[in-house]
């Protein structure tokens, strides 16, 4: 069968720059790009790790090394004519002559209960907001998240009223009450992202396969949200660990202080700074958290972006 259609010519292309490829310059460019990448990365590694390195070295310094003239003494060296050898005395002082271990214990207790309360409330809230509340869920989730943005410096005033009503002044339990107020909103929002990423089919399949909705959540949804739950645990724990304003406002006696306030009040006496002990106190807490964060970094980012894209 013959066609009677007229051919349609495409519009001519205006002349533009041609594509040229020179293997030599391309190779040089590649190496240059690599070098730029690695030197930038190196810069940031030094930028991030330098304070920690300095802190760790300081822990083992003797007083004379830190305070006495001449200033030519190297802050990074223990050897040579001017510097004195390393010492464990500062660590001993921190662990046995101060209340540091009490602060650590208090922080762990507060952190543990904050995590438990956060999980118990944020998980059902996030589930309900993602699965059950229809169109309202997302906007409500964002509204809840916005609560997190109210600064504690504003909130501690009304909170003080509540804490004294509850008779929890000067007790670590005041912090157990207060910390979930900022961990729950954030973790609810975070978990919403994770729950959204779990296909609804799987849950319905579990209901078809013989479970109630609750049974389906326990057996099909929770095992799949383990990354989200771990993220929430790490996040709410570290948040409670480094919180300062509430801890300062609600707890005054040494025996009830947490690390964040205890260290700064006990190791700075008037104008005397126990530099080595201060550094040790910070590093001992910071290192485990840094390791935890690194282990969960990918999941953290996944959690944040899940929330960002879909919620």
């Amino acid at each position: 069968m013959s066609s009677q259609l007229q051919p349609i010519a495409p519009p001519p292309i205006e002349s533009g720059p041609g594509i040229s490829y020179n293997p030599r310059t391309a190779r040089a460019k590649r190496i240059g790009a690599r070098a730029a990448l690695y030197s930038t990365a190196m810069f940031f590694v030094i930028f991030a790790a330098m304070p920690f390195a300095w802190m760790i070295l300081t822990i083992f310094k003797q007083n004379a090394d830190l305070y006495q003239q001449p200033m030519q003494k190297s802050p990074f060296s223990f050897w040579g004519e001017l510097n004195q050898p390393p010492t464990l005395e500062n660590l001993r002082f921190l662990l046995w002559d101060t209340n540091y271990l009490v602060f650590v214990k208090n922080s762990l207790v507060v952190g543990f209960f904050t995590v438990v309360i956060t999980l118990l409330l944020a998980m059902p809230a996030a589930y309900a907001l993602t699965r059950l509340s229809g169109g309202w869920g997302e906007s409500l989730g964002i509204a809840i998240f916005l609560v997190y943005l109210i600064p504690p410096t504003l909130l501690f005033l009304p909170m003080t009223r509540i804490i004294s009503e509850l008779n929890l002044k000067n007790s670590i339990w005041s912090l157990v009450v207060v910390y979930p107020t900022f961990t729950i909103p954030f973790c609810t929002w975070l978990l919403m992202g994770f729950f959204k990423s779990i296909p609804w089919d799987v849950e319905e399949q579990a209901m078809i396969d013989g479970y109630s909705r609750f049974g389906a959540i326990i057996r099909a949804v929770l095992p799949l949200s383990v990354p989200g739950i771990l993220t929430v645990i790490v996040f709410s724990f570290t948040l409670s660990l480094h919180e300062f304003v509430y801890s300062l406002a609600f707890v005054t006696s040494t025996a009830n202080k947490t690390i964040s306030t205890g260290v700064t009040t006990e190791l700075i006496r008037g104008d005397i700074y126990f530099w080595q002990a201060l550094m040790a106190a910070s590093v001992l807490v910071a290192i485990p958290i840094a390791i935890l964060y690194n282990l969960f970094l990918d999941r953290f980012i996944a959690g944040f972006t899940l929330g960002a894209v879909k919620g």
């Binding site: 069968m1 009677q4 296909p199 089919d201 799987v202 319905e204 399949q205 209901m207 078809i208 396969d209």
Partner: protein, 343 residues
């Protein structure tokens, strides 16, 4: 085994402007025991909502669902003795194949020994014994589908609900899966409701097909009835590839299949011929057959020939074509409904 019936089943969703939208609008459907019923319709026609209501995942706005003569409207999915295979297969990603299949048995608190026996039986039927230790992400699409089917049959449900289970497979695998699935259903003999938008699946597998559009059933019948005697213009054009030609003539619409449309010169006897003027425009050669696109009275029409037929037609020139009277279907011009009786 059980029959499944819906009576005036309706599901109304709230639209964006707050108005009611009927996803399923008063569907009456009676599925016999052991029957393979296909719900066929374009996407968004309500077929999946209908299936989900039968499965208990959606609550009907009104109407009744009966499984084995019992009204199950208020029963949760787990109490309906149904098994469902989702389009995504919905395998539990954290469990291996064995535990995926064991999942419904554990829910039923079956003893471990008995579980093992049932799982081996189901895995044997679907030929997945060697996959039992794998995780779902290590399986191909076809293997996942078999695992999902094994999980569905393992607890001997009364009804299978299948929601487009073949749509995730590539075209080649789909043809063999269609065959396997149908044979499998025949062997098991379980009442099956199968949702698809693919007419080839519907025609090839269904004992009967229910064609659904905009929440209502347009026609229920065997594949032959649906194809040969469409009840309205929607069914006529939804089934068949290419679809039925529809040409307006006087106060009605004439419908005829492309394979029944041929040059008048090729007709043996002429007594039952209805002549139509066809202007061919373009030809498509598809290996086994040849499609000629053109128009009749200014309306698009297609004629289909086996490749072996030799044609002497020229584009743009009117040719005398014809359709035999028994192949001509007449439809009402207003409602699109079929007009029966002598024409």
């Amino acid at each position: 085994m059980a029959t499944v019936e819906t009576r005036k089943l309706t599901k109304e969703f709230t639209g964006h402007a707050g108005e009611g939208v009927f996803a399923v609008n008063g569907i009456d459907l009676a599925i016999k025991d052991g029957e393979f019923m296909v719900l066929l319709g374009p996407s968004g026609c309500g077929k999946t909502t209908l299936l989900r209501m039968i499965g208990g995942l959606e609550h009907p706005t009104s109407g009744d669902i009966l499984i084995g003569d019992h009204i199950v409207n208020d029963l949760p999915p787990r109490a309906r003795s149904i098994a469902m295979v989702f389009q995504s297969y919905a395998l539990y990603p954290h469990l291996n194949v064995y535990n995926n299949i064991a999942f419904p048995l554990r829910a039923a608190k079956m003893p471990r020994e008995e579980q093992k026996k049932q799982i081996e039986w189901a895995a044997g039927i679907l030929g997945i014994e060697e996959l039992l230790k794998r995780k779902p992400r290590q399986l191909s699409g076809g293997q996942r589908q078999r695992v999902a089917l094994a999980r569905a049959i393992v607890r001997h449900p009364n009804v299978f609900l299948l929601d487009e289970p073949l749509s995730n497979l590539d075209a080649q695998r789909r043809a063999s899966a269609r065959d396997e699935l149908q044979q499998f259903q025949r062997r098991i003999g379980t009442t099956t409701i199968y949702v698809t938008h693919d007419q080839v699946e519907a025609m090839g597998m269904g004992d009967r097909i229910a064609v659904i559009d905009k929440g209502s059933i347009r026609q229920i019948g065997t594949p032959e009835e649906i194809y040969d005697e469409p009840a309205d213009t929607f069914v006529a054009t939804f089934l068949g590839s290419p679809p039925m030609n529809l040409v307006k003539r006087d106060d009605e619409i004439l419908g005829f299949r492309p394979e029944h449309f041929f040059p008048a010169s090729q007709a043996g006897s002429t007594d039952d011929l209805v002549p139509l003027q066809f202007t061919p425009l373009r030809e498509e050669y598809l290996g086994a057959e040849r499609l000629v696109y053109g128009d009749v009275d200014g309306v698009r029409a297609i004629a289909r020939f086996p490749s072996t037929t030799h044609l002497e037609i020229e584009a743009g020139h009117k040719v005398d074509f014809a359709v035999r009277r028994q192949h001509l279907k007449r439809f009402d011009i207003e409602t699109g409904l079929r007009r029966y009786g002598a024409g």
